[in-house]
């Protein structure tokens, strides 16, 4: 198929958790609402309403910082069960249109509608209908992006928020990308962004100015990906049957600590949470990743691959304790996380190398 003939829609709910809270509690409407850790506790902002964003608050910001920026904000604890239920309704709406739905999280998904569009029904019309259907069934707004690949569709949905609908046609793709800030590109995190900025790259246009050789030299294998993204080349398919890549849990401690007993206790609790999530999804994994964030917010990860996929608390706990031994606890710990990756279905038999003792 021609690289530009696919029709991909990216739907992203607007300030999802906060909007659900405002829908369910009329007194929150029109106010800055922050869902996440409470200001006297030590969590971070999960989502905040548009009213709160005006104050410079954004997700992943420590709740205490958010409180400093906007003391009058309404702080609420997340009600995950409710969000999950709403998410299921939304996903069901998507599936009424196509089987090619790839959820990225509770409030975000890609849809490939290439097969159902025709001259009379454009992808843009489908996106508009889906937005209306979501509003009717859940009372919430979503922003949609329509284009011919995932990269552009996602950037499009981000272009006008809230309640936006942005279409990027092949003719307009490069002009659109040229104006996008470099940090908004898929796969460009803080570190990559910083390095690109040092190379004088601030927008998509700057990125497109770099040769493949220059990018490969600076970013080795990922250089090619950046080179292609700058040219709006993104062949990733929408994967409807996608098994999740990883399952993880993390927790911000109630107080920074360097007490090993306490750290190990938290790891055990996390291992339990991860193990039950694996069980629920009927998967098991071969890689365990331990994440440790220190008091100064520096974060490190350590990973181990085991020969046979694991699912139980004991296995995951043992791996994470082994990984912890590799970590130099140079400062007090703020956050701990465990995730299990390289998942596979748990109901197939697996080969086990038996042990002598």
């Amino acid at each position: 198929m021609d690289a530009q003939s696919r029709k991909i829609i990216h739907i992203d709910m607007d300030a999802f958790y906060a909007s659900v809270e405002q829908r369910d509690c009329p007194e929150y409407r029109g106010k800055p609402v922050i869902v996440g850790g409470l200001p006297n506790a030590r969590g971070v902002v999960a989502t905040c309403s548009y009213e709160a964003r005006v104050f410079g608050i954004h997700s992943a910001m420590p709740s205490q910082t958010a409180y400093r920026l906007c003391p009058q904000a309404v702080f609420v604890r997340p009600r995950m069960d409710v969000y999950r239920a709403v998410s299921q309704d939304i996903m069901r709406i998507f599936h009424n249109y196509t089987d090619f739905v790839e959820p990225l999280s509770l409030d975000e998904a890609y849809l490939d509608v290439t097969a159902i569009g025709n001259e009379r029904v454009s992808a843009t019309m489908i996106a508009r209908e889906i937005k209306q259907e979501i509003a009717k069934q859940t009372g919430l707004t979503a922003s949609a992006g329509v284009s011919y690949n995932k990269l552009l569709a996602k950037m499009a949905s981000d272009a006008q928020k809230p309640d936006g609908l942005t279409v990027i046609t092949p003719e307009r793709a490069l002009a659109f990308l040229d104006r996008v800030a470099i940090g908004k590109f898929y796969g460009v995190g803080k570190v990559t962004e910083e390095r690109l900025r040092q190379m004088g790259v601030h927008t998509g246009a700057d990125l497109r100015g770099l040769s493949l050789e220059a990018l490969s030299a600076a970013f080795s294998l990922r250089g090619r990906q950046l080179y292609e993204l700058a040219r709006a080349v993104d062949a990733r398919p929408v994967q409807n049957d996608r098994i999740r890549q990883s399952i993880g849990k993390e927790v911000t401690l109630s107080a920074d600590t360097d007490d090993l007993t306490q750290i190990v206790d938290v790891l055990h609790a996390l291992a339990q949470a991860v193990a039950s999530a694996l069980l629920r999804r009927r998967v098991r994994g071969r890689i365990v990743v331990l994440k440790v964030k220190f008091r100064d917010f520096e974060q490190i990860t350590r990973r181990v691959t085991v020969p046979t996929a694991m699912q139980t608390v004991d296995e995951i706990y043992a791996c994470s304790v082994t990984l912890l031994r590799e970590v130099v606890l140079r400062d007090k710990v703020r956050l701990l996380g465990i995730s299990v990756q390289r998942l596979e279905p748990a109901d197939e038999p697996q080969w086990i190398q038996l042990a002598l003792f």
């Binding site: 190398q353 042990a355 003792f357």
Partner: protein
């Protein structure tokens, strides 16, 4: 230091000690070789904090051309990599090394090299052994002990003791054993002891022993072995090898060797090896490199399959077969490594059940025994 030494003597000594020079270390002085001229001899040392080699070159009277001539004593540390490259390429059979403070001048024929050295006082001291009495065995035997066991050590640091080889001495018998918890190899030998050792159980890093084995001659040269509280020392010819021990408790292996078997086969090692190697071609990419063994009186069928690629079936005829037919699966890499360590032409393999360990030995009464756990398919 002012010395004249034969190029080949020096090169041989350097090549031996360089085996202990680390490729990565936090102590830069260890990238060097410690060279010391005493009034009688030249002593070269390479060391990586885990193990080390020391070679002593002494002038002996009965030589037409003396191996070494020491004009002035002294010591220096010179970077191993450059020193080796230089000595290897020297044009003349004799080499003169003079040092001035921390600079060494190496002359041979018309070539002159000046190398910046490191301070020998920074080089970590290697422990002296108080009592030089120990076990005596031939180098060839020592080499066998290591080569038939060290391959079974673990490469994972999750249980450090398993990266080592257990040396056990009891009642005149020295036994080396290694296991990575999936397979085990053990080899014993009678030794003469000059000291009144009681029971010894020490764990020596497998990696250092493998380096030792490479430098042992394959003849009857006597190797003297001393096991101390903190280190192992093996001296042979003009070489001393020393290694740290691994601390910790080694798992009890005394009860894991099965005594009764359901199926026993003897089979030519070479033909079995070839067969397993071919069958393993498809198993290579799977995690445990799984091959299936179908044991039948008439033939041993070995197969492997990969859902994506295909299937291989091979068979080999056993020399003898006693007991029941059996089907089991095992790791091809383990089996091949095990077969490689078995001396002689035939191997005796004895099975109890598809889910329990089988043994590999040269003969039923051998002091070399290997144990291997099969792999099983399970639903979990």
């Amino acid at each position: 230091m002012r010395i004249v030494v034969q190029k080949n003597t020096l090169l041989q000594a350097l090549q031996t000690v360089a085996k202990a020079v680390p490729s990565r270390t936090t102590k830069p002085v260890l990238y060097g070789i410690h060279i010391e001229a005493t009034s009688e001899s030249l002593i070269l040392t390479g060391y990586n904090l885990e193990f080390g080699f020391e070679v002593t070159v002494t002038a002996t009277d009965n030589q037409d051309v003396p191996m070494i001539q020491i004009e002035e004593t002294g010591a220096i540390v010179l970077t191993a990599r450059y020193l080796l490259d230089i000595v290897r390429k020297l044009p003349h059979t004799l080499v003169r090394i003079d040092t001035q403070e921390l600079t060494a001048t190496i002359r041979s024929g018309n070539a002159t090299y000046t190398l910046n050295g490191l301070d020998p006082r920074e080089y970590p001291a290697t422990q002296e052994i108080a009592d030089d009495r120990g076990f005596a065995i031939s180098c060839a035997t020592m080499r066998e002990l290591v080569e038939r066991t060290a391959f079974a050590t673990s490469t994972s640091e999750s249980r450090p003791v398993l990266t080592g080889v257990l040396w056990k001495y009891e009642n005149g018998l020295l036994t080396l054993s290694a296991t990575d918890s999936h397979r085990m190899a053990t080899q014993g030998t009678e030794v003469e002891t000059l000291r009144d050792y009681a029971l010894i159980e020490s764990i020596i890093p497998g990696k250092s022993l493998q380096e030792l084995a490479k430098s042992l001659p394959t003849d009857d040269t006597l190797a003297n072995i001393q096991i101390e509280e903190k280190q192992l020392l093996v001296s042979f010819a003009n070489i001393r090898f020393f290694s740290q021990l691994i601390e910790g408790r080694y798992p009890d292996l005394s009860r894991i060797i099965p005594q009764a078997f359901k199926t026993s086969i003897t089979i030519g090692i070479k033909s079995l090896q070839d067969c397993v190697e071919r069958a393993a071609l498809l198993a290579r990419d799977t995690e445990n490199q799984i091959i299936r063994l179908h044991l039948r009186r008439t033939e041993i069928e070995i197969s492997s399959h990969s859902p994506e690629i295909g299937k291989i079936v091979e068979s080999v005829e056993p020399n003898t077969f006693e007991g029941e037919d059996m089907v089991l699966a095992c790791n091809a890499k383990f089996l091949l490594e095990g077969l490689r360590a078995i001396p002689g032409e035939d191997v005796l393999i004895q099975f109890t059940s598809p889910g329990s360990a089988f043994t590999l030995t040269p003969t039923a009464t051998s002091t070399h025994i290997q144990l291997m756990q099969p792999v099983r398919q399970v639903y979990i």
